[in-house]
Amino acid sequence: MNPILVLGGGPAGLSAAAELAALGAEALLVEREAYLGGNPKRWHYSLLAPDLRPAEEILGPLLGRVEGSPKVERRLSTTLTKSERLEKGFRVTLKTADTVETREVSAVVLATGFDHFDSRRKFEYGYGRYPDVIDFKELEGMIHDDKVVRPSDGRAPKRIAWILCVGSRDIQVGNPWCCRLGCVVSIKQAVEIRQKHPEIDAWVYYMDIRTYGLWEDLYWKSMQEYGVKFIRGRIGQVTLAEGGAQLLATGEDTILSRPTEVPFDMIVLASGMEPGTGTKEAAGLFGLPVGPEGFLTPRLSDMNPVDSGSPGVYFAGAATGPKAIPDAVTEGMGAALRAFQYARE
């Protein structure tokens, strides 16, 4: 049996590769970046919602299973440039900076993931123009290293505001979907900051709070135990306050029915999730349909969310839409099982 290709080394891909190895199959894990771990690794995610456990604690064992297994062949800094369907499986071309190699694989798991929305595209929020407007993926790293300071002057902020749904639920940027994680991650960040630095005040500007399922608990705790304040209304623009030391968030408080113009030391944008570069490329390489949002679409998203509908090709994780890590890991397992069954037939 030829190895099974797992494309993408984030939580979903790691989970699929580890599970394939456990099933006794050979996995060929291909990752574009020079490291495994995907977005959580790339942006140094701090604690993960909802249990507030460090990202390392969750990714670590997965990485260990993959890196410690002789069944998993890891190819970093490698991209897939060509794929050709065989009678059983595929012939794929793997490319690194200086090598090109052709391999035969018996099945494919696409775990190509998502990219964070580029907040510069919401130009009215001044990301990229004002250093103290930061993206929440950058705040993850700051919290991780316990260095929550204003990029402009290195001083600790006293007032931070989060703006939710940046690049999500917004047809102006072409992203009408909900990113599912902006609420819970922002709230988690506010809680982490208030835990370590109670002197920092935290406000969250929201349209809706979608801490669905059991995550609701974190939302409640953030208000009751950590004093995070929630303001209903979407900020329209961020400018520099008079004197230039602070940022001015202009919007409407829809509960107040009034315009507000409030100064903050730092503004955090909860940027959404978009189909990853690899996801778009994989759709082209394997001739798969994508939905209007650009994510890969399972044949039966309710009955079998890991089945692409194309024989031998399976999906896992955020390639099919915004997804939390536990869901990505679960799908990795499901996709591994289905790919293994297909390869063995």
Partner: protein
């Protein structure tokens, strides 16, 4: 600060323009306060949350169940009395807007329907009263004639332990800044004295052992006043100090 016709804007946004003590604002040339809320800070909510009756304020998520069943708001029709809104202002930190409701907030009749129904266990009735206390302690409500009478009454009692009606009347008149003509005073005083309803001057009583009791009371009141002053310092400047 734009200038528009007064009838087009809400009453609370107009500002009087006085020159040499004469109101010259009229229907036109009215000065307006900005509708923009620029002030947002956590002092009110911190204080309310710090009181035993106010700590559940941080649970509120603005569903409006309390206001929906509020008898003041719905049955009595006092739409200005909106517990959800008061909680929002206090919780999020719009102190300036909240101060407008310094007297309205006390209209709650404690029917406690809100407390029974709140899905998050906010003790709405207690929280609303705590917000009222904050506003009172920070001097958000203007002093009414009744408040001044209370002050006169209290100082009179503190001095002697029992009322001296004539002294009370004098103190109240001083606080109100008005003066009843001597002839009227005489006529009224004589009638009251004759009917035995006025105790003053040599006829007035004084509570026995009042000195000690009065001291204890005064100490308590002074402590209260210190608390009030401390809070007043903490209270936020209107609109973040912006025009």
């Amino acid at each position: 600060m734009p200038i528009v016709e007064k009838s087009l804007v809400e009453v609370d946004r107009t500002e009087k323009l006085e020159i040499d003590g004469i109101d010259v604002s009229g229907e036109w040339n009215t000065f307006l306060r900005s509708r923009v809320q620029a002030h947002l800070d956590v002092r009110v909510s911190d204080w309310v949350k710090g009181q035993p009756q106010g700590e559940t304020i941080s649970r509120c998520w603005q569903c409006g169940t309390c206001t929906a069943g509020c008898c003041m708001h719905t049955d009595y029709g006092l739409t200005e009395f909106n517990p959800r809104y008061f909680i929002y202002l206090a919780q999020v930190g719009y102190e300036e807007e909240l101060r407008k409701y310094a007297t309205t907030v006390w209209r709650c009749v404690s029917c406690n329907k809100c407390v029974e129904r709140c899905p998050k266990g906010v003790k709405v009735e207690e929280v609303i009263h705590t917000i009222g206390s904050y506003l009172e302690l920070t001097g958000a409500a203007p002093e009414s004639p009744a408040d001044r009478f209370d002050r006169a009454y209290a100082s009179n009692l503190l001095e002697r332990g029992i009322l001296d009606e004539a002294a009370l009347f004098r103190t109240y008149e001083r606080l109100e800044g008005r003066k009843t003509p001597a002839r009227d005073l005489m006529r009224m005083g004589l009638a009251l004295l004759r009917s035995g309803r006025l105790h003053t001057g040599p006829f007035a009583h004084r509570t026995r052992g009042w000195k000690k009791m009065g001291r204890v009371l005064r100490e308590n009141l002074e402590a209260d006043e210190r608390r009030r002053r401390a809070l007043a310092v903490r209270a936020a400047p209107p609109n973040g100090g912006r025009p």
